[in-house]
Symmetry: C2
Subunit: 429 residues, 2 copies
């Protein structure tokens, strides 16, 4: 088995998958345990040909895949992995760099710094922030809150009721309390209700998961500065939108954050996993994480990015983001984000104009919250029916106690036809 | 840009890299900042051809890569990414599954469970443990200790002075204290000195980072059981050796662990990142991490692996391990591990028989600790000279206050000739 022998078949499988994913049911149409039951209970004694793996990928695994790469994946935030990003992952796995110290992979350590600077420029962020890559926003948030605890000594994390569940998970892991602030009628943190007693950090969200609401960051920053509280901004989804100047209204106040997370694997066409964490107080991250034992000591006067987060071993994740930024350029990224926002706007208009349907939250970016003008049960049944059809996959949330449907656009391959088809499927159902 | 157009060039780059890595300097011969200075300070406005990325990979990035894939990488633990594993990473990036809930990727969730069961069988572990994949042992340890805190209410983590630094990092993150127990004359935790007052967990190491010593797990398990303390076993490196029955002496007592970490990216030829965490008390992991908000609620009666660790978004990591286990089979894995142990034994013999050199710790698996019979400065200078030659890359540790060289064998491509050359280089220097 070798890249020369089996690589072409693997590559062909990958290309063919992307060519046919449009025709596959978006949500996997299997029951729990069904895939498992089709797999052998024990590993083979002797090596098998790689071709058998590819065959089983088609016959056994694929029916159990929910196709995030489908142009009609409209659930959660619709991530997608672009082709330059996919090839970069092949290259990263080939190099297999383990960048826990600078010297164990100088190029990936330095490319990570450069790529984060590039991303900061593309998104219009302040110069000079320290940036590095974590796997997910959950872990970026853990790192940011650990730094906040270190810097402030506080033991409460403050966020809105609409903040992502990973904030509470991170606080619990760190032994911190979570204090939830009410929201206003547009699902934004109500800055008037901020109570910063014993606070280590406020997590402000730009683009909440339910409705993509934008918390009033300038007012939150005022309060944080007055009380010496760390301001962490969670722009995991919406931060990518800042590549378009016309969407930077949502960046107001973010320049005053102590830390910021943006996930290019969400809306910058970079394969999982790639979560960017910037901070203007990197010394607090180092204080939380740096600990150098003898067997890792070197005379190198260069920073090791493992000093800034929970993991020691670090994959060459910057390669895929660097590749995507280069192959698309600023213009290419802007064009895709703009098209997604345009498609969401279009869909929003269809819902608004159709009797029997209602919009449930202001649309800020590429997510529309809506429902049938009917009870929760009917909307819930509608969602189940649609997802069971395999034609599209959408998810839900609950707003003001009501069951609400969400259509999220973010897949690189999504076209106006796909969004129109989603609307047709919804109306038919 | 597409997989069809640019994929063959990327694949050829990868294959060519593996063909020529033997001829490249193992440790990157660059100074801090050198790679960064060769990269543009700003991202491009317009997209660039993928071919430019490949060109820069050769011209700019490669000189800054420390070649973990080189057969003469003998530093730390010598990881390597096998070709089946590399191709599986291409496929995983193509599918781009984000398995935070079962339904968002049933196949990757279930394949992860199956693959962990396969691995448990290969390593001779008890049946029925719950297993999942984290990125690194650092994060697996965080998850295990969070579960221990949840299960016991203790606030001290006990480990030996030779435990990996990630234990102390994890404890600090969780707001727990670390208590270090002295070691015996073979660098094993001295079970007589165990003090379990207020302990949440003991971390026992099978295969310490410095010398691959094996802590007395049965005695530690006795103490943990008596005191209701969680036993976490760190076998990140040495656990892979259990694929060979003759190396399972080091597994004594591990069946009594509450949690266990083994990293196939260390010594099972799986690309970074793949850290396996098993537990016989999965409910404690769930208690530490599960928190399901409305927008993630589904009616599926199936477990979501994000309930067992810090990250919510989960890459399709099981695919590469499953592929490696299939393409190598039990016999293929055993043959490679045995050969590495044989080569380490050979090297150990050469050192033992050569006047002017000494062995510094018992060899248990594929790592040899040794030094010139001379002062620390001379050994340190020797290491620097050798690594600067680019011919081999080895690392060091400190034992009983003395500077000690380490030769670690683990790269799939390492042959007897490579080890012989390492010895020649060392003697010449």
């Amino acid at each position: 088995m070798s890249l020369r022998e089996d690589g072409p078949a693997a590559l062909d499988w990958a290309a063919r998958y992307l060519e046919r994913v449009d025709g596959l049911p978006v949500l996997a149409q299997v029951k729990p345990g069904e895939i498992r039951a089709r797999l052998p209970a024990s590993p083979p004694e002797r090596g098998e040909p790689f071709a058998d793996v590819l065959r089983d990928l088609d016959e056994v695994i694929l029916p159990g895949i929910t196709h995030w790469q489908s142009p009609r994946f409209f659930a959660y935030f619709a991530n997608s992995a672009s082709e330059p990003g996919i090839l970069a992952e092949l290259l990263a796995a080939t190099l297999n760099a383990v960048a826990f110290l600078w010297r164990t992979s100088p190029a990936s350590t330095e490319l990570e710094a450069v790529t984060l600077d590039w991303a900061a420029q593309l998104l219009g962020l302040p110069q000079g922030w320290h940036g590095h890559i974590e796997d997910t926003a959950s872990v970026s948030t853990i790192a940011a809150l650990a730094a906040a605890r270190e810097a402030t000594g506080g033991h409460v994390v403050v966020c809105s009721e609409e903040a992502h569940s990973s904030v509470e998970r991170a606080a619990r892991l760190l032994g911190l309390e979570t204090r939830k602030v009410p929201i206003d009628d547009e699902f934004r943190l109500d800055a008037e209700s901020l109570d910063l007693t014993d606070a280590a950090a406020v997590v402000a969200t730009v683009g909440t998961t339910s409705t993509t609401a934008v918390d009033p960051v300038p007012a939150i920053a005022d309060a944080c500065e007055e009380n010496d509280v760390w301001l962490h901004v969670d722009a995991a989804y919406a931060g990518s939108a800042w590549v378009c100047p016309e969407l930077r209204w949502s960046q107001a106040g973010v320049d005053r954050a102590d830390s910021l997370v943006v996930n290019p694997h969400k809306w910058l066409f970079t394969p999982m996993d790639c979560s960017l964490l910037w901070s203007r107080k990197p010394e607090a991250l180092r204080a939380a994480f740096s600990l150098v034992p003898e067997y890792l000591r070197t005379g190198d006067e260069a920073e090791s990015l493992s000093d800034y987060g929970p993991a020691l071993g670090r994959r060459f994740r910057s390669l895929k983001l660097w590749t995507v930024l280069r192959c698309y350029g600023r213009e290419g990224l802007q064009a895709r984000i703009r098209e997604h926002v345009r498609l969401a706007e279009l869909f929003e208009g269809w819902v608004r104009d159709e009797p029997g349907w209602e919009l449930c939250a202001p649309r800020r970016f590429s997510v529309v919250c809506f429902r049938r003008d009917a009870g929760d049960e009917e909307n819930e049944a509608l969602l189940a029916r649609i997802n069971a059809s395999g034609e599209i996959f959408i998810s839900h949330t609950r707003l003001n106690g009501r069951y609400v449907l969400r259509l999220a656009i973010g897949n690189e391959r999504t076209t106006e036809d796909d969004v129109r088809r989603a609307w047709d499927v919804l109306r038919r159902a």
